[in-house]
Amino acid sequence: MGIERAFGEGIITTRLDKIVNWGRKWSFFCYPFVTACCGMEYMSAAASHYDIARFGAEFPRFSPRQADLMLVVGTICHKVAPVLKLVHEQMCEPKWVMAVGACACSGGFYRNYSVVQGADRIIPVDVYVTGCPRDLRPSWTAS
């Protein structure tokens, strides 16, 4: 704290990685990989009532090259699994994945020939938001 007193008012010191993480936390560029009903919940969250713009995440980037958070929203079938993997590989580091909804977390209530039992079988997932569809009261702190 000594050095801050020397600088005077309006200057704080911190670590570089902390300030970078603070910037990343409050400005996501999400890539909503929406397949099913949870997409409706995502759209509601992005709309004005349950606004996610207050977290800095209102602009969905529909190109994986520009995104840093991929939201896997909805059921992942075996037919779309290679697409999911390809899109994830196209994202640049650092990247995070959030699995929204029961189907993306673990296959949901589907246990059959066509549903992948969780998006984490294909790509590494950082945050799991459960629910069918997920509860809109924000625990949107994916940061």
Binding site: K79, R111, G118, D120, R121, I122, I123
Partner: protein, 167 residues
């Protein structure tokens, strides 16, 4: 019989004992056919002015694995102008699971027949475009048959190390 609908009366007049009315079905007229008669009966139902079945509502298949013949193709037809409804049922054997297409009569049957082909393996002869509609080309087998295991997955991707063996 007086309380039979006009559809059943006309079908009996034209086809006699090639059709069999199912009396137990109380929600709508239900008629069982042989597979050689299906195109003729459908053409008749569409063409007759009093019947005028212009909407094919549904075309599905049921797998009665313990019975012979095994598969039953079910057609649901509806007349928009008159409001008549009818259900047609055709039984097919497992060894010879083929039936004529009715795409010439109702074009909408095209995708329904492709779905039945994809998921049950019933071939529709003279279909204009019989190929997979829902599943991917690498999939083997017919998943909606009762002898396909419920949770047998055929993944297209390489599963990650961390989740191998879980669930």
């Amino acid at each position: 019989m007086a309380d039979e609908s006009i559809t059943i009366q006309k079908l009996r007049e034209t086809f006699g004992d090639r059709i069999e009315v199912v009396p137990a079905a109380i929600d709508m007229d239900t008629v069982k056919l042989g597979r050689d008669d299906i195109v003729e009966v459908c053409g008749f139902l569409r063409g007759e002015d009093d019947l005028d079945y212009d909407l094919m509502r549904d075309l599905t298949c049921v797998d009665y694995i313990d019975e012979k013949p095994r598969f039953e193709i079910v057609y649901h037809l509806y007349s928009i102008y008159h409001g008549h409804e009818i259900r047609l049922k055709v039984r097919l054997d497992e060894q010879d699971a083929a039936i004529d297409t009715i795409t010439d009569i109702w074009t909408g049957a095209n995708w329904y027949e492709r779905e039945v082909y994809d998921l049950y393996g019933i071939t529709f002869t003279n279909h204009p475009d019989l190929r997979r509609i829902l599943l991917y080309p690498e999939f083997e087998g017919y998943p909606l048959r009762k002898d396909y295991p419920i949770d047998k997955e055929q993944p297209l991707f390489e599963e990650r190390e961390e989740t191998r063996g879980v669930r």
